[in-house]
């Protein structure tokens, strides 16, 4: 599934400023521990977190994630947004909790099945 489909269907609000969101999403990962994400998340995934500081953009771009969703109405710091823009990494916010947004992503078919095969 393409990122722009996910964005529309889950009504994600983008805080970075990318117009073209046509990359294919390769599953997802949820964690607020950065080293855990570094060790487990794969390129092309969506990462769901409640961290909003700029190091999330550093971590996301080093891994080569498709996008970050900051859940639970957590605040995304301005320098995280800037770093996302600099590194081609779209960042979204949602009022849904991490639990609920991950559930919704799964329902949409954004799962890690592809990767397990």
């Amino acid at each position: 599934m393409k990122l722009n489909e996910v964005v529309t269907k889950l009504k994600l609000q983008q805080v970075t400023s990318f117009a073209k969101l046509d990359m294919v999403v390769q599953g997802g990962y949820v964690s607020d521990l950065l080293s855990n994400v570094m060790g487990q998340a794969k390129p092309g995934m969506i990462w769901v977190t409640m961290q909003g500081h700029h190091n999330i953009a550093a971590v996301g771009s080093l891994i080569g994630l498709a996008a970050i969703i900051v859940a639970g109405d957590a605040k995304v710091e301005q320098d995280a947004i800037e770093k996302g823009n600099d590194n081609d990494l779209p960042i979204f916010v949602t009022a849904l909790s991490s639990y609920d947004i991950v559930g919704a992503l799964n329902k949409l078919g954004v799962t890690n099945e592809q990767e397990k095969k």
Binding site: L34, S35, G39, P43, L62
Partner: protein, 137 residues
């Protein structure tokens, strides 16, 4: 080719500059993407350890035709028990660092896992040096 970056102690606003720069450099050279990702992850973890635990330090990348060597060194407090530090989940990170999602105690194990060769030297009161080798295979 050899490049060198200083890691500022405790400055989370500038955190990750060395790994981001090394990643860009390797991309320009045309190193395979999966190898770059391993190098970026290992370097970031080491860089953050310098910043969080050692008051800053230095990252050196030696980029050779067959592989890249990353050397992360500091003159911080050193690691009293390396075996313990290498255990997943073991961390002395302060609470404000944990609140940012660092300090899960998985940095050193990640560095070992993502590199082809991992060496850690540390002396209490003198500092620590971590050497990671990555092959472009």
């Amino acid at each position: 080719m050899k490049v060198e970056y200083q890691v500022p102690g405790g400055d989370f606003d500038r955190a990750g500059e060395a790994s981001a720069n090394i990643k860009k450099l390797l991309q320009r050279i045309g190193i395979p993407a999966d190898v770059i990702r391993r190098i970026a992850i290992g370097t970031y973890e080491g860089e953050m350890n310098c910043l969080i635990h050692a008051g800053g330090g230095r990252v050196v990348a030696e980029i050779e035709p067959e592989g890249t060597v990353i050397i992360i060194s500091d003159q911080g407090p050193g690691i009293p028990d390396i075996q313990k530090a290498m255990q997943e989940g073991w961390s002395t990170a302060p609470d404000y660092v944990r609140a940012m999602g660092f300090g899960a105690g998985m940095g050193l194990p990640n560095m070992m896992k993502c590199s082809d060769d991992f060496n850690i030297q540390s002396k209490v009161g003198e500092g620590s040096t971590i050497t990671m080798k990555f092959l472009y295979k």
